[in-house]
């Protein structure tokens, strides 16, 4: 009985985490888009982007929050989709974990990249 109970309560917590991360993502995506529209008014090159983001701690913090929200949000949704689409595969959790780690590692690498300008 305990096992079943804990499973449901864990899923309720995951749902809550997904909801909160969705709120963060909504805000982040909006800010991200506004910045893009603002920044590319006269065309934009990679050099110019790095020129602005390099050494800018606020940019780095903002995008790391963005990455963390994706890290929480996307794998939970992926598990749900996989469970409902391929209920007997048993691959839902492994794939979600791989996705989570990829988002975290690649996302953080990108944040470090725009902060340092690719020169570590």
């Amino acid at each position: 009985m305990g096992q079943v109970m804990n499973q449901g309560v864990l899923q309720a917590k995951l749902w809550y985490a997904q909801r909160i991360s969705a709120m963060v993502l909504g805000l982040c995506v909006a800010i991200h888009l506004v910045i893009i529209f603002y920044a590319i008014r006269g065309g934009l090159t990679a050099q110019e982007i790095l020129g602005r983001t390099q050494g800018n701690v606020l940019f780095a913090i903002f995008y790391e929050i963005f990455v963390l929200a994706c890290f929480v949000h996307a794998p939970i949704g992926m598990v749900n989709i996989l469970q409902e689409t391929f209920p007997k595969s048993g691959l839902d959790r492994p794939i979600a974990w791989i996705l989570a780690l990829l988002i975290l590692i690649l996302g953080t690498t990108a944040v470090v990249g725009v902060f340092t300008g690719g020169q570590i």
Partner: protein, 243 residues
Amino acid sequence: MSNSDLKVKVWRGSQEGEFVEYLVPRNPNQTVLDVVTYIQRKLDPTLSYRFACRVGMCGSCAMTVNGVARWTCRTHVSKIVEGDSLEIAPLNNLPVIKDLATDMREFFNKWKGAVGFFKGDKTRHDDFTKVQPNSEERQLADAGIECIGCGVCYASCEVVQSRPNYLGPAALNRAWTLTNDVRDVQQLERMTAVAGDAGCHACHSQGSCTEACPKSIAPTASIAGLKKLVARAAVRGSKWGKL
């Protein structure tokens, strides 16, 4: 007369079977249940189907009519007929016993699974509990209380289809009305029972149940209420304690 006859395809068999066509004379104000009854009484007495009250109270006569789950006793043929054709099948998402009768056991067992039954702690020697009709709990319970247990929402739900252990809209709607019953003493058990992917958190909020409900109840709203309440109880706690 034959010109105005309805061409009615009816599912015959159990899980395996086929549609058989019958010709049924049209009548003004004819309901789908009238059509099925005509077939059983005049054309083929071996047809099995289920009904009781004929006036939309008992919830026994739900079937899939032209692809949509409906209460047949209150569905007029004229409102849903396509040309002169009707296709009548048993409800989806439930095992078929024979013809139009489904095995509803799983549906009702899930009500039990969702702790969809009342339990109080008062005896006949105690005074009545006073519940204000305009209190928030009473209003929320009222919104979902008229369910007749027909199974139309359950048959219309695509989450039930993809997750066979999902409790389904009717059971969760009942759980929500009881969550708002101030006399009930099983709140923590109920919240635990309806938490997670077998319960309220699997709902896609697509609203098929709400669209199909013949009593105009919105199980989607009830489930949304449960999602918030239960998740909050799991993370922060509730007035009845933490999960």
